[in-house]
Each structure stands twice: as C-alpha cells, then as structure tokens.
C-alpha cells in the first residue's frame, strides 16, 4: 500500500471527472483496474456509470472479492450513483421486468442500505438542482462540523481572534446533478443521512398521474468510512463532498 494513495475505480464511467475534482482538492489519484492497483490504494472512489457494466468488469478482473474484503477491513470508500448501487446491501429495480430478465443486480453489501435502481425513470426524468446546506440537518456530527468549518472564514484571524465580528459565509449551495439516479429506500440504524432533497422521488410521470406528495429523499449517506451519494458531485465545481471524503 502506498501512503496517501487514492484510487478511482476505472472500469467504466465518469472516473476521469472524479480524478479532476480530487486533483483540485490537492489529492492526486490513480486509476484502479486490477487487484494490483487496488493493493496500492488507501482509499477508493467508485464513480457513476452503468452499475451492470461495472459489476461484470469487476468480476472479470477478479476485483469483486478483494474489493469487498478491503472495504470490510476499513478502507474509506466514496460511491456516487452507480458506485452507491454497488456498495449497497440490496438492490431493487424500478422496473420489475429487469429482475425477470437478469435477476437482482449483485452488490458488495458493505453498507446497510437498500437502493432502487433507475428509481426516477429514464433520462428525461434526470434533473439538476441545488441543495441549500443551511436547511440541512445532517445526522452525522462530524459532517455537520465539517460543513460549518468550511465557510471561508478563519477563526484564527489576528484582527478578530474570536471571529465574532465576521459574517459566517457558509458554502450554502451544493449543486445536485441526478442522472437516471438510484434512490435510497431503506437503511439500518448504523447509517447516517448527511443530505436530503425534497422531491417526490420515483418516476415523475407516475407521480403526476397519482398526485404523489413531495417527501424528503436521502441523497447522501454515511456508515463509518463508507460515503455514498445518489447524485454526481464530480460533475459540479463544488469540492465539498470530496474534501469530506478525504477527511474520513
């Protein structure tokens, strides 16, 4: 294992974008395609892409088992979208026909979370919005403290030692780009919800037809050193979640 070596799983998907964001956080990374690559890593990002494709490539590469073992042994991981699906305990499908055709999508079962794949529908139901961090109440104290500390405000400013006269400038807006996104549907008591999005969830046209009310959807969750989110922080300019991952 190389000290501070960060891997980005590069079987398929938006791995290059994760590497760009990590580089902007001052954290160079390597692409992981083989068990030997994985051995070098201290922490790992599982990017968005197609979870079915990644699963098959991970199996073919002999990476599936070593990956599950490393994560169970405490390696910090960050899974976005397809990465979140692969890390979860159980996958259910929005469309039951997929289950008939292929069976249930296998997953690494390292976070006590059940996700629904393609929960929002097709690409036409993909969306881009903003999460207001001031309205969030993260269940995880470390994340709450991280966000509060991340306000562009230096409490040790010589002219203002206690910081009382400075406005607190929170990084209030976190862009949320959800592409054929999965939905967290159930999780165990060991899992903390970090970010929520007010939305109806599920297929938008069906919601309209059935007049379903808005509810809060958990879109970013954490269990120990496993961080997952259903959207794509790597596609925005905001580095908050990547920096938080690096702090785990």
């Amino acid at each position: 294992m190389r000290e501070h070596c960060i891997g980005v799983l590069a079987m398929q998907g938006a791995y290059a974008k994760h590497r760009e964001i990590l580089a902007r956080c001052g954290a160079p990374s390597i692409e992981v395609r083989t068990p030997q690559d994985l051995e070098q890593c201290e922490r790992l990002v599982l990017p968005g892409g197609e979870s079915t494709t990644m699963y098959r490539l991970l199996m073919a590469a002999g990476l599936w088992q070593p990956l599950a073992e490393r994560i169970r042994a405490g390696m910090p991981v960050f899974g976005t979208c397809a990465g979140m699906i692969l890390l979860s305990q159980r996958v259910v499908e929005q469309d039951q026909r997929a289950v008939q055709n292929y069976g249930v999508q296998p997953c690494l079962a390292v976070i006590d979370l059940e996700v629904k794949r393609n929960a929002y529908g097709y690409q036409m139901d993909s969306f881009s919005t903003e999460l207001d961090l001031r309205t969030q109440t993260p269940e995880n104290a470390a994340f709450a403290a991280f966000v509060r500390a991340d306000d562009g405000y230096d409490a040790k400013d010589a002219n203002d030692p206690d910081g009382s006269s400075l406005p607190v400038i929170l990084p209030t807006i976190l862009p949320m780009i959800a592409i054929r996104a999965p939905l967290a549907v159930a999780w165990g008591s060991g899992v903390d919800v970090l970010l929520r999005h007010r939305d109806k969830g599920g297929d938008k046209r069906r919601n309209k037809r059935e007049g379903r009310a808005e509810t809060e959807q958990a879109v970013c969750l954490q269990q120990g050193k496993i961080l997952v989110c259903s959207f794509h922080p790597e596609l925005s300019d905001n580095t908050l979640l990547h920096r938080y991952f690096l702090s785990l």
């Binding site: 398929q12 998907g13 974008k17 197609e50 490539l57 026909r97 292929y102 690409q123 881009s128 054929r180």
Partner: protein
C-alpha cells in the same frame, strides 16, 4: 437569475447540463446496436453501457438499399422493456418529427444519424428544442462544433458504418484530434480565420481553446469490429465506442461483445488484449473502403 445570452442561454434553458452528464456516464463503455429484445439481453449481459435499438444494423441497411427510416416504435419499446441500461434510437438527419416521436417514447438518447437516409439536405435538427439528449456524427472539428452549436450533448466520429473497416473511424478521429490540438495552441487572433474556414462560431472555438477538448464527450463509431479496433480508437482519443454490425454480424456475438467491453477498459494493456482477442470466432466479413463507391459512403451524409 444571471443574464445569459446566446448559446449559454440556450444551454441554460434546456436540459443540456444533465444531458452532457449522461454522456459522461457512458464514458469508457460500449454502445451496441441491437435489433431484437434478445440481442438487447445479450448486450446487457456482456456489459454494454447502453444499447442502440434499431430495425436493421448498418450492414443490412447497406445490403438492402432503399430508404432507411426511424425504427418501429413498438420494437424500440420492446427493447426498452428488456434492458435496464440506457436505450438510444436513431432518427434521420433533419427529421425533427421522428425525433419528437422518439422523445415521446422516452428513449435516453437520440442519434441523428447518417446511417439513415437524410430527411433534410439543408438543415439538421434544432437540438436545443428537445429535452432528450442527442448524439451526432462528425468527420472533423467543424462538423462536430456545428452539431454542438445546435445542441448535441455527445459527438461520435462517423467512420463508415456497416463496413467492418476501421480506416474511416481512424481518419475522422485523427482529423478531429489534430484540429483540436491546433485550436488549443492557436493565438486568439487566429481563431477568426479558423471559424471562417471551418464554418463554425468563434464562440465555440474559444470554448474548445479554453477546455483543450470538445465541450461534450467524444465517442467513436463506424467500422469497429474487433477488440483491437476498439482499443485502437480509445488510444486515439475516443472516450467510448459504438459497435454496430461488428457484434451481431459475427460468429459468436456474446463472446465478441464481452471482449470488446473489456478491451475498452484495458485498451492500454497489450497482454490483456491478447487474451481478449483469442478464439472469438468469425468476425463480420466486412467491405473494404476501397471497394465502396463514393455514393455508397454514409459518412458523406450531413455537413
């Protein structure tokens, strides 16, 4: 709200951002042409990142002749109901009503494709006017930027579909990449002349110069038939590959499909490519480009 104008405003008002994002998710993957639900299943099992649902693969369109149109929506729906990965479908160049039908069908991507017979010999579709993303073909940077200007969320170099000959795919990718390098290294005052010569907007050339690449993902299509072909295109700068006739016109589609998927992931590892190239059965027979009359070249459709 910010006061955006021009192209930036069109992008902000449409789904451009999340449509480009879907293209990002397809990177490092293989998009396979499928003509039946059964093919769709084989493609997903093999690890395709998406499928292109159509009635006939390009090799058959070429052999049959006549007018090639959008596929029967019933067939597209059947394929859509079989796979869990994104589904693309083709409409004719300029045929915005076929595109509206595909949008109403909730396909995930529309390919405004030269493989079908063009419906308009002057205008391509105004893709900003749609919620669904579009991919378009190109032979060079000018053509790529004209399509991106119209709202395409993904570009694929055209190659020559239905031939199994990779030479045009290589030519188009090399041309595109060397022109991108020329723009990246150009002085700003040189961009105006490039804009005039290539028939593109100065604004888009500025964008390419700043990014050092196209503003949308850039995939490769047209003539890829083997794992080695796919790896070659990735090495030349493709971010994913489309495989049309190459899989289901070969002796062992399931095995070839899986090998091409892995070749895209391991394109820089020759030892791995040795394994992947072994014992794949008969490749598609193909047509050499030098056997192909000028008027039979699909890449010349569109401008």
């Amino acid at each position: 709200m910010s006061e955006l104008t021009g192209l930036q405003a069109l992008r902000a008002e449409s789904n451009w951002k999340q449509n480009v994002a879907l293209a990002e998710m397809l990177k490092g993957g293989v998009i396979m042409d499928v003509v039946t639900a059964e093919h769709g299943k084989i493609a997903e099992e093999a690890g395709a990142a998406a499928v292109m649902a159509l009635e006939r693969v390009p090799a058959d369109i070429r052999a049959d002749g006549g007018v090639a149109r959008m596929s029967d929506p019933k067939l597209i729906r059947e394929i859509r109901n079989t796979v869990s990965i994104p589904v693309m479908a083709k409409c004719r160049i300029g045929h915005f009503t076929e595109a509206r039908i595909l949008e109403a069908l909730s396909v995930d991507f529309i390919d405004e494709s030269e493989v079908l017979t063009p419906a308009d010999d002057s205008y391509h579709i105004d893709k900003h006017d749609f919620r669904v993303p579009f991919v378009c073909g190109c032979r060079d940077l000018g053509e790529a930027l004209r399509r991106i200007g119209e709202g395409a969320a993904m570009i694929r170099t055209k190659g020559e579909a239905g031939t199994g000959d990779v030479v045009e795919a290589v030519r188009h990718m090399r041309t595109l990449q060397s022109e991108i390098r020329a723009v990246r290294d150009a002085r700003r005052d040189e961009l105006t002349t490039m804009a005039r010569d290539w028939g593109v907007s100065y604004e888009l050339l500025l964008e390419v110069r700043e990014l050092g690449r196209l503003p949308v993902p850039n995939f490769s299509a047209g003539g890829i038939a083997t794992p080695a072909d796919a790896a070659l295109m990735m090495s030349l700068g493709a971010e994913s590959v489309f495989v049309g006739s190459g899989i289901f016109k070969s002796g062992n589609p399931a095995k070839r499909a899986k090998a091409i998927v892995e070749a895209v992931t391991y394109y820089q590892e020759p030892e791995k490519l040795v394994e992947l190239s072994c014992d794949l059965g008969e490749p598609m027979t193909g047509i050499g480009l030098d056997e192909l009359a000028d008027e039979a070249r699909l890449a010349r459709r569109g401008w």
